[in-house]
């Protein structure tokens, strides 16, 4: 999966250790969004023709096209369902998340 990952982060132990200014390193994720979902998208690879439309329309960019098959980063998918709606081949279904 070629997607930005959570970074380990330790809170500053003293006021002096805080950043200089209102500053933070970019590319610095410290929490995931998976907990937002009620439904999660599941790709049926038999139906998927790799048109990449789902990759294109995902507002969060969680669909990775780097591998042979499209992969969904479930750490950051919010379950909005745009991918399933926009897929012209019915290859994505929104499945109720079981926690």
């Amino acid at each position: 999966m070629d997607r930005p990952k959570i970074k380990e982060w330790i809170a500053p132990k003293s006021v002096r250790e805080y950043p200089l200014g209102s500053t933070c390193e970019s590319d610095h994720l410290t929490s995931i969004n998976a907990g937002w979902r009620t439904f999660k998208p599941v790709i049926d690879y038999d139906k998927c023709v790799n048109c990449l439309r789902c990759f294109l329309v995902c507002p969060d960019g969680v669909i990775d096209k780097s591998g042979e098959k499209l992969e969904i980063d479930y750490d950051y998918c919010k379950g909005c369902g745009i991918c399933a709606t926009e897929c012209k081949f019915g290859a994505i279904s929104m499945v109720k998340e079981v926690k």
Partner: protein, 297 residues
């Protein structure tokens, strides 16, 4: 220049892990703009949803250099960044300011105008979801006629907002800007092409991209791209460019799809009567009469 589409656009994400609502049209626009512009991009964006969801210490969603600007100042901060980089001799970078409809057409108007006047080498992208969403869905200068917002309620006496959208695209073009375009996340390849053109423009360029907001408009989140397409197909938004001093329309529908079908699936328009819709259609038709007469179709 290779055509930009799902296949050719990079797999890299430069705007990721943010806390925007699921189905947010604005985040889709930012995501793709960043893909076209790449890792050497310097981003400025004002108070608004995108700033609010991407910079909550210590969780940072941009992988590139990025900063929040004062609300009125997107155009000014982005200009300052670009001119500062130029003075430092830093090359092969791109500076972009993203601002919402309020941050562009209302409070940000002055700074945008100043930036274009100076022809500073920036892209200014207005992500238009037609209200001040981050503060709770209040009316802005780009809220269309008949929209129910929290400061333009629809009731016995008023149909929601009673003014039409400000013509930002034409106002910007009237500055004689190097490049300006309108776009929609319902037509993503067209949007990508325009971002690339803006990137290649020396001087200021402006893109006004239509981005639906499921929370503020009241529709199921999965319909964002479909609605962004429907608004263009029904003629209520147009895809156009201003380049070399000339207006060109990219898509000239032979027949518009029914405005009612686009409007009535959103809670913010649920209250519209046939009379209200007729006002909207009349305004649309007048606009397209002008477009077809004066612009290159």
């Amino acid at each position: 220049m290779a055509k930009l589409n799902a296949r050719t656009i990079t797999n890299e994400e430069y705007f990721y892990g943010h806390k925007a609502c699921g189905g947010c049209g604005e985040s889709l626009a930012l995501r793709h703009a960043m893909k076209v512009l790449g890792e050497n991009t310097f981003v400025a964006l004002p108070a608004g949803c995108m700033a609010a969801v991407s910079f909550i210490y210590p969780h940072m969603a941009f992988t590139t250099n990025a900063m929040i600007t004062p609300f009125a100042a997107t155009g000014a901060v982005a200009s300052g960044m670009a001119v500062g980089l130029k003075a430092l001799g830093v090359e092969n970078t791109q500076t972009i300011g993203f601002a919402g409809d309020g941050g562009t057409a209302d409070i940000g108007f002055q700074a945008l105008s100043g930036a274009i006047d100076r022809n500073d080498d920036i892209i200014y992208m207005c992500t238009d979801n037609e209200a001040y969403m981050n503060t709770g869905i209040q009316k802005s200068g780009l809220t269309p006629y008949g929209t129910k917002t929290t400061t333009s309620p629809a009731g016995k006496n008023l149909p929601g907002a009673i003014t039409h959208k400000k013509n930002m695209f034409e106002i910007v073009a009237a500055h004689g800007i190097s490049y300006a375009a309108t776009a929609s996340v319902g037509y993503l390849e067209d949007f990508l092409m325009k971002v690339q053109k803006a990137k290649d423009t020396k001087g200021t360029s402006f893109i006004h991209v239509f981005v639906p907001c499921p929370t503020g408009w009241g529709y199921p989140a999965d319909q964002t791209v479909a609605l962004a397409k429907a608004v263009v197909d029904s003629g209520l938004w147009y895809l156009a460019e201003y380049e070399d001093g000339e207006f060109k329309v990219n898509k000239n529908p032979k027949e518009f799809t029914a405005a009612k079908d686009y409007l009535k699936v959103q809670s913010r328009f649920k209250h519209l009567t046939d009379e209200d819709i007729a006002v909207i259609e009349e305004h649309r038709d007048k606009k397209w009469e002008m477009i077809r007469k004066k612009w290159n179709v």
